[in-house]
């Protein structure tokens, strides 16, 4: 089990460097095990270098940088073992336009192996979807509605 852990670790570490660089062009990142004890009990640390910046405590990252780092980690795991289904709930909310675009490109490259369902308020994300499922609330009861994308965002189809 332990050698299998290290093989997985090395590959995921490489994947993480790749996914991070795709979301942060010119950036670098890797994983480290902190502390003591067996490999299977030590903490996993993200060591993260957005382009041009020095590695700092991860708490100093901005809201958008934190979201991209978490997404880079998830995508790195999916490069190792793709889940058949992945549901994302407003993970694009903190991203600016350029980062939303990089995120959507990455999502697209992973969607051969994984079926993605994305809850979003972001028009750009909506424009890249194969279908839109609209939800509305009517007197405290949720209902499905047909929607289509227009200038003003997703609109109910009457």
């Amino acid at each position: 089990a332990k050698s299998r852990f290290w093989e997985t670790w090395d590959r995921v570490n490489q994947h993480f460097g790749e996914t991070f660089a795709q979301l942060f062009p010119g950036g670098k990142a890797w994983l480290e095990l902190t502390g003591e004890g067996s490999a299977l009990s030590r903490d996993i640390e993200f060591v993260v270098h957005p382009p041009g910046k020095r590695t700092r405590p991860i708490e100093l990252l901005s809201g958008g940088e934190r979201a991209l780092t978490a997404l880079a980690f998830m995508f790195a795991l999916y490069k190792e073992k793709a889940g058949p289904l992945c549901i994302l709930d407003e993970v694009d909310a903190p991203l600016d336009d350029a980062n939303t675009s990089r995120f959507l490109d990455m999502l697209d490259s992973f969607s051969k192996k994984t079926q993605y369902v994305v809850v979003t308020h972001n028009r750009f994300t909506m424009s890249k979807a194969s279908r839109l499922l609209g939800v509305t609330m009517d007197k405290g009861v949720s209902k499905l509605v047909s929607v289509q994308l227009s200038e003003g965002g997703a609109q109910k189809v009457s």
Partner: protein, 165 residues
């Protein structure tokens, strides 16, 4: 495509049976604040066997049953069903479609069903074991998870890494 559709009835704000048809490619779920989108995500988490009410924004599991509104009285049963495409037999069950259901009754009774037959949670987990849907947190990422993954106070990073191993 793996997930064909999600059927939600009596779960959180979905008082009436609502069917979400999915398909190939990326599906976007949209709507105004508070309309029920995150409730759909939690419905999937729930039917995959989530046991902690806190991940469903509730204190007690019974809170996921639709508790009434100005448009509809309370109901006594919450039920969520996932219908999966098994035509290439990714799951160890010999049917072209596999349905997973979970029910919770107001009296606290809880049931799981596999292809509409009653079973135990461990049977569902067994069927999903190597499919990549065995751990709800591997398949579902909500906004709050970003902070949890970055804060690293628990061992979420390790649990996810082990799921990928």
């Amino acid at each position: 495509m793996f997930l064909k559709r999600i059927e939600i009835q009596g779960f959180k704000s979905f008082a009436e049976k609502t069917v979400f048809e999915l398909g190939q490619g990326m599906t976007a779920v949209v709507g105004p604040n508070g309309c029920g989108k995150s409730n759909v995500v939690e419905a999937v988490r729930w039917v995959l066997g989530e046991q902690r009410p806190s991940t469903l924004r509730t204190k007690a599991m019974g809170d996921v049953i639709f508790s009434g509104s100005s448009g509809c009285g309370p109901v006594s049963l919450a039920q969520v069903t996932l219908v999966l495409d098994n035509s290439l037999r990714p799951l160890p069950i010999d049917t072209d479609e596999v349905s997973l259901s979970r029910r919770l009754y107001k009296d606290g009774q809880s049931r799981y069903l596999l292809n509409m037959r009653s079973c135990m949670l461990k049977d569902i987990k067994g069927v999903l074991y190597n499919s990549g849907l065995g751990a709800p947190e591997y398949a579902i990422m909500q906004r709050e998870m970003i902070d949890i993954l970055l804060a690293n106070k628990g061992n979420e990073r390790r649990l996810l890494l082990e799921e990928a191993a």
